[in-house]
């Protein structure tokens, strides 16, 4: 099966790339194109060529990790294409094939997986205040630092239900519910997908001299290195 055919199995790719006429409106509106050396028009053209060598180069590149998923391109394309969806399919395939560890930004998937997926499966939220430490989030400023240090009292003050039974803001998600999420992840392919991210990341870490018991170092490397 060619890489293009593998992409076509993803409905987001089918929806995102109909027939690009190379007008460049997506690039004009794209915030990532303004900030990075990134051109969604060229991306659509290269993928549309069905040239597997070009697609493989993209899958191993920094290019596919620049998109910020704002989906402004979806609004503007006169042909109903959406480079943001093409990106979703390319990133998925890059991780399936292990190519993502060949780019600096691709390697960041390891840190994202460690934070977001563990939050979801252990707490039922993508983000939880315990993981929003001021050290990892200096941009949050002194007010968040103050709030973080008094979070139990202040969430109470604001009517939240932090880590407690029942309904409400930041309630404890029950073990039964978390078990349902885990079962969904197992059944629908997420668990196997995450094992691939872990496996390929460990392989890359070993290549650069980081052993399995030192993966926290790999996390900090991909999280902070630019």
């Amino acid at each position: 099966m060619t890489l293009y055919e593998m992409l076509q199995r993803d409905v987001r790719f089918v929806e995102g790339l109909k027939a690009c006429m190379n007008c460049g409106v997506c690039t004009a509106i794209c915030p990532a194109a303004e900030f990075f050396d990134y051109d969604p028009r060229m991306l659509a053209v290269e993928v549309q060529s069905r040239d597997d060598s070009k697609i493989e180069k993209l899958l191993r590149s920094e290019t596919i990790w620049y998109c910020g998923q704002c989906m402004s391109c979806k609004t503007r394309c006169p042909r109903g294409n959406c480079p943001g969806l093409i990106i979703n399919a390319l990133r998925k395939l890059s991780q399936e094939l292990g190519y993502f560890t060949e780019s600096r930004r691709g390697r960041q998937q390891y840190a994202l997986k460690k934070t977001l997926i563990e939050n979801i499966l252990q707490r039922g939220y993508c983000i939880h205040p315990d993981s929003l430490t001021p050290e990892l989030h200096p941009e949050q400023g002194p007010v968040w630092e103050w709030f973080f240090n008094h979070r139990e009292e202040l969430y109470d003050r604001l009517g939240a239900n932090l880590d407690k039974e029942g309904a409400g803001t930041l309630r404890k998600i029950s073990p039964d519910v978390l078990a349902e999420l885990k079962a969904i992840f197992d059944e629908s392919g997420a668990t196997a997908f995450h094992e691939k991210i872990e496996r390929y990341s460990l392989k890359k870490a070993k290549e650069i001299g980081i052993e399995e018991h030192e993966m926290e170092d790999y996390f900090m490397l991909v999280f902070t290195n630019n």
Binding site: G68, Y125, F147, E187
Partner: protein, 360 residues
């Protein structure tokens, strides 16, 4: 003739919003950073407007932040969404009230996918049944919570204690509205007024007495970018996009920024601090920032809710200048207190903001 054509186009961007009976789906970011806003939504809906909104402990994250960070197969996302829909149906509801714009985009994307690719829906149905024993249901209506406040904007206006008027000048407050990208850029027909002329927030602002600021980068992204913020090394992308907006709105001297998206509210608040620290630049005049509020915080203030019950002490940019312009009576001494009035200290005032005007 021209007017008729415009009316036809405009009709594509009208949206049916139910009058009552909502299953509430919370936001990860808002629960962390704006807990007072979710509480205010429920209080205003249930107590002020007498509406039925059900807050179910069994729902979870929609996983949207992880999905847009490309960590989840699309099939997994669809199945988690299917579970939320099943819970809604099991609780006896047909309408969703969605707190988060990312989630709202996710629910819209999944429902549109199921229309175009029915096999995807059948896969999600099967995964859901096998994993949880639950049965997929399709909501009759998916409204973002800002849609719902827009729908009831006149009922809220009838109860206002503090309209959006500058008490010193008698002029309408000048307010920037920022619509989260995933509210209508992906599916313009799902948002009130579409992507370019979204009126979900401007409708509230005008109904409550304020004046909407139009500025060149009004529809530009705040810069969240998911992985572009979540990874520390990438945050330059995020702050640069917000900076572009601040530079564009600054000449209009807005009194406040109102957002309907959790991430946007947080970033437009926190990046003002970051830009101040990096470059010494502030955008609100006199060494201040521009206050950034959620639409529930704005509605709550206008209805007479206490600013510290709404959670304005969690904002990095002080909101007191707005409170003073609106003539709101509040106790500055309670800003940093706990539930029982206990002293919890105070955050450090950053050097980038004018300390002389931060003596609240």
């Amino acid at each position: 003739m021209k007017h008729q054509a415009k009316s036809i186009i405009w009709s594509d961007y009208q949206k049916t919003i139910p009058a009552d009976g909502f299953y509430y789906l919370r936001s990860c970011i808002r629960q962390n950073f704006f807990p007072g806003s979710e509480r205010a939504f429920l209080q205003i809906m249930q107590n002020d407007l007498g509406k039925d909104v059900f807050d179910d402990p069994k729902h979870t994250t929609c996983t949207g932040i992880a999905y847009h960070s490309d960590l989840l197969p699309f099939e997994t996302l669809q199945t988690v969404v299917a579970r939320q829909f099943a819970l809604m149906s099991e609780a006896g509801y047909r309408n969703l009230a969605v707190s988060c714009v990312t989630s709202f985009g996710i629910y819209s994307e999944v429902l549109e996918t199921w229309k175009e690719f029915p096999d995807e829906m059948e896969k999600a149905r099967t995964y859901l049944r096998k994993a949880t024993g639950r049965e997929l249901a399709i909501p009759e209506n998916v409204a973002h919570c800002s849609d719902i406040f827009y729908h009831f904007r006149n009922e809220i206006a009838a109860r206002l204690q503090y309209p959006l008027i500058n008490g010193e000048t008698g002029q309408p407050l000048k307010i920037v509205e920022h619509i989260g990208c995933h509210y209508a850029k992906m599916f313009p027909g799902k948002g009130v007024g579409g992507a370019e002329f979204s009126c979900v927030l401007s409708g509230m602002i005008e109904a409550w007495g304020g004046e909407v600021v139009d500025y060149p980068e009004r529809r530009h992204c705040c810069g969240f970018g998911f992985r572009q913020y979540l990874i520390m090394a990438n945050r330059g992308y995020s702050v640069s996009n917000s900076k572009k907006k601040f530079e564009s709105m600054e000449p209009y001297r807005p009194d406040a920024i109102i957002c309907n998206c959790p991430g946007c509210t947080m970033f437009l608040d926190k990046w003002q601090y970051t830009i101040g620290e990096l470059e010494g630049k502030t955008y609100g005049g006199e060494g201040r920032g521009i206050p950034v509020l959620t639409y529930e915080e704005l509605a709550g203030l206008a209805l007479g809710y206490d600013p510290w019950d709404l959670g304005l002490q969690m904002h990095q940019v002080d909101c007191e200048p707005l409170l003073q312009k609106m003539g709101i009576k509040y106790n500055p001494g309670l800003k940093y207190r706990g539930l029982k009035g206990e002293d919890l200290g105070k955050p450090v005032i950053p050097n980038c903001f004018n300390r002389a005007v931060h003596s609240f």
